[in-house]
């Protein structure tokens, strides 16, 4: 099952003017339902534009996007886009910037209330989302501006999760978090994966790609440079170099050791997998 389909998707900023700037050119692809796709590419490759298109914040200049039974083209009326935003939850970069309400609870309730839910339902959903994010519930009535940066981010993400999206976009979710906060966030993404959400994660951290992504999409100058499993991507050093990407540390180490004569049983993607294989070899040697 596919969750999203792009057909010849093109987006040009300020189209029909002298300052026209193509951001995405003729992208045709699909995203699987319930899978996690990492979208990578260097700055200005069109990642955020693509995410905004999926959320209906901008309309494609040409081509179409299909989500479920909704098809979005250049002619789609603005009113239709509301339906799209019900399906898609978008966690922007530095989402804590969007907090505005008087209390944490009010802020998280904002999205569900906009969806037309009753106050009780919104409250239930808000509390459930905050609990899922390990947010200390005694702070519910506090102002979001009194919280620490990490807590603020959790409130902002809860605000999106409370809307129960089917597709979740995370734009650089770990940027600016301390290592502990990053680890917590990755655990959360795993929980959401287990719940069957379709997740799109935009990131520059190749470790996240290796650990979380079922599929990787590489954008380069608004064009699709690669789509496939992360294993396939990491086995192509030329492709990585062309797109200014580097290997995750575990794979880098494995590759270096590989050059010194060690053979791996499949490429270890994470430090844990690397350690497992080394321990295995150690055991074999002892025998």
């Amino acid at each position: 099952m596919e969750a999203i389909r792009f057909k010849d998707l093109t987006y040009i900023y300020q189209a029909n003017s002298v300052m026209a700037q193509p951001a995405l050119t003729k992208i045709t692809t699909t995203f699987k339902q319930g899978a996690t796709t990492a979208i990578i590419g260097h700055t200005g490759s069109g990642k955020s534009t693509l995410m905004q298109l999926i959320d209906g914040l901008i309309l494609p200049t040409a081509g179409s996007i299909t989500l479920g039974d909704l098809t979005i083209t250049n002619e789609t009326p603005v009113k239709e886009l509301g339906k799209l935003r019900r399906l898609v939850g978008y966690v922007f970069q530095f989402p804590e910037k969007q907090l505005f309400a008087e209390s944490v609870l009010d802020d998280v309730k904002f999205g569900p209330l906009n969806q037309g839910l009753s106050d009780e339902e919104a409250q239930e959903r808000a509390q459930a989302a905050l609990e899922q994010l390990n947010f200390p519930l005694e702070l519910l009535k506090h102002s979001p501006f009194e919280l620490s940066g990490g807590q603020q981010r959790r409130v902002a993400i809860a605000g999106v999760l409370a809307m129960h999206p089917e597709i979740l976009i995370l734009d650089e979710p770990t940027v600016g978090l301390d290592p502990e906060g990053q680890a917590e966030l990755l655990t959360l993404v795993r929980d959401l994966q287990a719940q069957g959400l379709t997740i799109l994660i935009v990131t520059h951290q190749m470790e996240i790609v290796a650990q979380l992504a079922d599929e990787v999409m590489v954008l380069n100058h608004g064009q699709l440079a690669f789509q496939g499993s992360s294993q396939d991507l990491f086995l192509q050093p030329d492709l990585l170099a062309d797109n200014h990407l580097r290997l995750p540390k575990a794979i880098q180490l494995a590759t270096n050791l590989g050059q010194r004569g060690i053979t791996w049983d499949g490429l270890p993607l994470t430090t844990a997998q690397l350690a497992d294989q080394i321990i295995q070899m150690w055991g074999d040697q002892d025998e």
Binding site: Q14, S17, M19, Q52, D55, L57, V78, G82, R85, R86, V88, G89, Y90, F92, P95, K97, Q98, L99, F100, F110, G111, N114, Q115, F145, G159, V160, M163
Partner: protein, 267 residues
């Protein structure tokens, strides 16, 4: 999002006007605006329009961009003109209804107002299209220097001005991002009654204010850490030099003024 707002944006085409000293341009623009109020009859307005037209052609920027600049203010112009037409008296009366009347005097007044609007808006647009905002700030700083004798804190004012100018695009970006974030949380900004629409501004204004406070705090700390002291005399990194072309521009303005004076007296 803001390709509509032309006023204040800069278009680099490297024309003769682009290379002028910002001080010369500020003085010329200021002077031109004053001249507009001295114009009286058809010939004086024709003369000023002709001069402004030459300046606009010299910028090498398409007239369509100037039109965009005026388009934004068309509502205001129409409103003022309508008031002028309906409430002025004098001359032949064409139509009357209570205190409302259309008279030849009123129409004349309206025409004058349209001309003034168009001339002033276009003159200032020429200035902003050909001058980078930081250049403009430097120019104003030097022009305002004499005010220091009157205890006006010129240094601080110009510092505030250049910081404000620098942060306009940053804040614009921020507004777009926050708006997008709230839209994706289900806010529809193009819908609902006036009161509902005003309420919908809260989720934009509050985060914007909060982040501006934070930004100001961080910037102040960073400036202090780099040794900024508002009361100290500062040296200039951006040095602007008055050149021959700037004197030429001033002479041209003088010629325009004299010609205007003569047209006013004789015609």
């Amino acid at each position: 999002m803001n390709n509509k707002v032309l006023f204040g944006s800069y278009v680099p085409t490297n024309s003769w006007l682009h290379r002028l000293d910002p001080r010369a341009k500020i003085i010329a623009c200021f002077w031109f605006v004053i001249l507009v109020f001295f114009a009286k009859n058809f010939w004086t307005y024709a003369w000023l329009t002709f001069i402004l037209g030459i300046a606009m052609v010299m910028t090498k920027i398409s007239f369509k961009m100037y039109w965009n600049g005026i388009k934004v203010l068309i509502g205001l112009i129409t409103f003022t003109v309508a008031i002028q037409i309906l409430f002025s008296s004098g001359g032949t009366v064409y139509w009357q209804w209570g205190i409302l009347a259309i008279t030849s005097g009123g129409l004349k007044q309206a025409l004058v107002i349209i001309m003034r609007f168009v001339l002033i808006i276009n003159a200032s647009t020429v200035l902003t299209l050909t001058t980078e905002s930081l250049e403009l700030a430097t120019g104003l700083e030097i022009l305002m220097k004499p005010l220091q004798a009157l205890k006006v804190p010129v240094n601080q004012l110009t510092m505030m001005m250049s910081i404000a100018l620098r942060f306009v695009p940053t804040l614009m970006n921020e507004v777009t991002t926050i708006m997008n974030a709230q839209r994706s949380r289900g806010v529809n900004f193009n819908e609902g009654s006036l009161i509902k629409r005003i309420k919908q501004l809260v989720p934009i204004m509050v985060p914007l204010l909060v982040s501006s406070f934070k930004r100001a705090d961080e910037l102040a700390t960073a400036m202090e850490a780099r040794g900024y002291n508002p009361d100290q005399a500062r040296s200039q990194y951006r040095v602007i030099a008055w050149q021959r072309q700037d004197t030429q521009a001033m002479v041209a303005m003088l010629v325009v003024t004299i010609a205007l004076g003569l047209l006013r007296i004789w015609l």
